[in-house]
Amino acid sequence: MKVMVVVPAYNEEKNIYKVVASIKEYHPEIDVVVVNDGSKDNTCFEAKRAGAFVIDLPQNLGIGGAVQTGYLYGKRNDYDVVIQIDGDGQHDPKDISRLVEVIENKEADMVIGSRFVEQTEYESSSMRKLGINFFSRFVSFVCKQNFYDTTSGYRAANRKVIELFSTYYPKDYPEVETIVYAIKRGIRIKEVSVDMNKRQGGKSSITPLKSVYYMIKVTSAILLQP
């Protein structure tokens, strides 16, 4: 199986080296593609130093556009599996093989690395929990299948999903919407429990005002599926 990891990164010079290096350490056979989303710092240099292949976007596209670039690259270069890992070091690369395994065994087309399928050490604030809970119930209801961690950006996708996401991927806050989008197109999704670290550097981009926009945007995007 030809596997690649896509790491979207915007101004992650402090984390990206560690993220790429630890993926390489666990899985030297996997190609690591960092999509540098128009960073203003040394993200590109740091990623290359760690041995990643870097796609330098000339303009900032936001998380959706950056991740989609990874899927597009995966499709063009004939990868069987594309794995998505955040650039801030929250996701533990040791779980990659468990995600790939599910796809290899054809148990699902897309795998989500989830914090909540089993009790893990991850803790989050109460407001955050409320939002995560709401989307978990809402998505489960719309998809008629239980989903626990809809906001996780730790994912693996097979060819069918790579093809799907390279044609359409939401521009901002894409995680939740893509689950519903994929399910409605006959994609089988499975959640696998993973450990998540507290972010190692940088700040969460979600402010109170943004979280209101987040809730409204994502909810209406689910109600108004393309």
């Binding site: 870097v54 976007l57 303009q59 596209l61 556009g65 989609q68 597009l72």
Partner: protein
């Protein structure tokens, strides 16, 4: 100054601007045709008080300027809506281009920037 003359002068200025930007092709021609017709309609309305009153009467609005305001505002809404559709489509095109350029740059040479 008579209100209608005032409107007429404004419409005339508008027509001049529409013609100028069309002639220099700063404005795409498909929009030029639209704006030139709009300015001609404005000129007609400002010259012909009766026409405005008649149209207002058709929808039972006794105060003709109110009719113009309502029509104008609704029209402006539609126009802005259309513009946001155009912007969205441009945004999608730009996203595609940026992604392609990024991939091409990284595969050809080492992507210096």
């Amino acid at each position: 100054m008579n209100a209608y003359i005032y409107c007429f002068i404004l419409s005339l200025l508008f027509l001049a601007a529409a013609l100028y930007f069309s002639k220099t092709r700063v404005l795409n021609f498909k929009y030029s045709v639209f704006w030139i017709s709009i300015s001609l309609i404005l000129i007609m309305l400002s010259l012909n008080k009766r026409l405005t009153e008649k149209m207002a009467g058709l929808v039972n609005i006794s105060y003709a300027p109110a009719f113009l305001f309502v029509t104008g505002i609704v029209f402006a809404f539609f126009l802005i809506f259309y513009l946001t559709i155009t912007i969205s489509s441009l945004q999608n095109k730009i996203t595609k281009l940026v992604q392609e350029i990024g991939i091409i740059k990284s595969t050809k040479g080492n992507g210096d920037s």
